[in-house]
């Protein structure tokens, strides 16, 4: 990679970046407000970004709120994650037709769009890297994920605020974007300035940066200011959880009474797995038409909280709420290491915020740690 010095972009320069990405043929998606939440969708201009908005998050609660300034990225992660683009919720894999000539299998064409993601947070960069491991770096490469992932352009944003349920510092996944991006922004807002410190992470990032207007080299003061912003965020995490011994802690406490306690509160609705940016499980479904001439196979996100998920001949292996919650949490935090060499949790806090009854993964771990049977 060419080494590029960090530069500073104005808001006009950021608009220029979106235009440059579009001219290169990218479908530009980023944060925008819909149904009183900040979700990810198509972005036509920076005016689509949630300027001046932030979010207040707690277990089972999310509310938008006005900011005192006009920050474009002054909020934490919302209900969506980038997996909805890279690993679509429902995806037809192939279909088949029966006609006079016999049976014909019609493969599903690759998508004809390339994504540019705007505003990817450090936790979500780690989540994408984890799904890369699952889908691209195992013995069986997933062609559907690869087709969406390999040409994606990622514009990261270093978090200037921590959400009420964030704990990336505990998981060593943020709040600074360290790798896995083409460009990384730090939003700097002052009395009379609204600028972005930009670092390039790839040649593609360098190339696009070089052609942007309203672009000037960063000064030492700019670099210090950006570092201070990230440090402040790191110091204001909503949640905290010791994570270095997770594998051993959970696996030696599979009979802990806390699993019974959480089972009383868990709805097994599956929301935590749906919003989790690393949960990747799918179910495969067949469909056929009334006339019996067309059939198709689709896959859709599934959840280890459903009975079908562990259904084998004779019934579901994990029929109790306790067993399903324990399966999810021990996989996420412990056995993921055995399977993929990393934690499956990136500390984004979505499972806490979007649990209808506010079950808090950090609180559950802390409870197990506090009262460990000897």
């Amino acid at each position: 990679m060419e080494t590029a010095q960090p530069t500073v972009l104005t808001t006009e320069g950021l608009e220029g970046l979106l235009g440059a990405l579009r001219r290169r043929g990218y479908r530009v998606v980023g944060p925008t407000i819909r149904d009183q939440a900040i979700i990810y969708d198509d972005i036509a201009s920076i005016t689509d970004l949630p300027q001046g908005w932030t979010d207040t998050q707690e277990g089972g609660s999310y509310r938008l709120a006005r900011r005192e300034n006009d920050a474009l990225f002054g909020y934490a992660v919302g209900p969506h994650s980038w997996k909805k683009f890279l690993h679509p919720p429902v995806l037809r894999l192939w279909r088949a037709e029966r006609d006079a000539g016999g049976r014909r299998i019609v493969p599903e064409p690759d998508p004809d769009e390339r994504f540019a993601f705007i505003g990817v947070r450090a936790c979500d960069l780690h989540a994408i890297a984890i799904q890369d491991k699952v889908f691209l770096q195992s013995t069986q490469v997933d062609p559907h994920y690869r087709a969406r992932r390999e040409d994606a352009f990622i514009v990261a944003v270093n978090c200037a605020v921590a959400g009420g349920t964030c704990f990336c510092v505990s998981m060593n996944t943020g709040p600074k974007a360290e790798a896995g991006f083409d460009l990384a922004l730090t939003e700097m807002l002052g009395e009379e300035e609204h600028r972005f410190l930009v670092e390039a992470g790839t040649d593609a990032g360098c190339a696009i940066l070089a052609e942007l207007p309203h672009n000037s080299p960063a000064t030492t003061d700019d670099l210090c200011a950006a570092t201070a912003i990230v440090a402040r965020t790191a110091g204001s995490m909503g949640r905290e959880m010791r994570s270095d011994d997770m594998h051993e802690l959970l696996l030696r406490n599979l009979s802990h009474s806390r699993w019974d306690e959480v089972a009383k509160r868990c709805l097994t609705c599956g929301n935590c797995t749906m919003v989790c940016p690393t949960c990747f499980c799918t179910s495969v479904e067949e469909s056929s038409d009334l006339a019996g001439v067309e059939t198709s196979r689709s896959r859709r996100w599934d959840s280890c909280f459903t009975m079908d998920f562990s259904y084998i001949h004779g019934g579901s292996v994990r029929s109790t709420v306790r067993s399903r919650y324990r399966q999810w949490m021990t996989h996420k935090l412990a056995t993921w290491f055995d399977q993929f060499g990393t934690s499956g949790c990136v500390g984004c806090g979505r499972c806490i915020t979007w649990c209808p009854v506010g079950i808090d993964i950090t609180e559950e771990v802390n409870a197990i740690r506090e009262i460990e049977p000897q």
């Binding site: 819909r34 149904d35 009183q36 939440a37 979700i39 089972g60 609660s61 999310y62 509310r63 209900p79 969506h80 909805k84 919720p89 429902v90 029966r98 006609d99 006079a100 009383k264 509160r265 868990c266 709805l267 097994t268 609705c269 599956g270 929301n271 749906m274 919003v275 479904e285 067949e286 469909s287 056929s288 038409d289 009334l290 006339a291 019996g292 001439v293 059939t295 859709r300 996100w301 959840s303 909280f305 459903t306 009975m307 079908d308 029929s319 709420v321 915020t353 979007w354 649990c355 209808p356 009854v357 506010g358």
Partner: protein, 260 residues
């Protein structure tokens, strides 16, 4: 050439119900011709003037059992049917009319009818499965026409219908909906309700009313606690579980934990 096959005989039966599920079948406008080509619609009072004769390969049963006469008639339907599928909340849980199960029917009848002695009704409204063996239950108030087509298509292809019994929440998340309870504080039964509607109400910014009845392994008490925290009083908590699926065991039990 597609091999010609035996057209299975299909019947649609009505018991105590509003006909809404039968209307959902008629609502399959684009697919009705294909359906008529695939099955012989031999008895369908909402749509045809056929008569009840002979045996049927597949019977779709709408409505609950509320009279002694219907309790007998469903046995006849069962005997005439190779496969019996109940459609809708009435047939699978007893329907809204199962509110009588929590009250005194005689008292109701005396208030509603000028000559209550003419009313020959049972004290309770019960699902079809309480009376005869049922091969498949399709949920909903009313049923979703896509799911109805799926059940018939699956039957024709001799495969399992894809009608997941997980929560409505999963349907919301697959659609990318923002959770109305978490983000707006809107009370929602989605976490304990059977999927199938495609998260219809939450997609229009309303909470789930539980039309599809309890999902697999519902855990209603913690949801009720959350609804109470959102400001729902005890009477309302009882009522939210007492709608179209009031008689479904998990909803009935939870409703009995609350009230005035």
């Amino acid at each position: 050439m597609v091999a010609a096959r035996h057209r299975p005989r299909l019947a649609v039966w009505k018991f105590a119900s509003c006909d809404g599920c039968q209307l959902s079948l008629l609502d399959c406008e684009d697919e009705l011709l294909a359906m008529a080509a695939a099955v012989e619609i031999a008895y369908f009072p909402e749509a045809t003037r056929g008569t009840i004769v002979g045996r049927y390969d597949i019977s779709l049963v709408e409505g609950s059992i509320t009279t002694p006469h219907d309790a007998q008639r469903i046995r006849d339907v069962r005997q005439r049917s190779r496969v019996l599928v109940t459609i809708g909340a009435c047939a699978t849980s007893g329907g809204i009319q199962a509110l009588r199960n929590f009250a005194d029917v005689q008292e109701y009848a005396s208030v509603v009818y000028a000559r209550p002695e003419f009313i020959n009704t049972l004290a309770s409204s019960t699902p079809i499965a309480d009376h005869v063996p049922v091969d498949f239950e399709l949920r909903g108030c009313p049923i979703n026409k896509r799911q109805a087509l799926e059940v018939i298509s699956a039957y024709l292809a001799t495969r399992q219908p894809v009608t997941p019994s997980h929560s409505v929440c999963i349907e919301c998340k697959l659609k990318g909906n923002v959770c109305v309870m978490v983000a707006h504080g809107t009370p929602c039964l989605g976490p304990v309700t059977h999927a199938g509607c495609g998260a219809l109400c939450p997609s229009y910014d309303r909470g789930c009313y539980g039309c599809y009845g309890p999902k697999e392994t519902p855990n209603a008490p913690p949801l009720s606690q959350r609804l109470a925290e959102l400001g729902m009083d005890e009477c309302t908590l009882q009522r939210v579980y007492r709608s179209f699926n009031a008689n479904a065991e998990p909803f009935r039990e939870e409703s009995e934990r609350h009230g005035p």
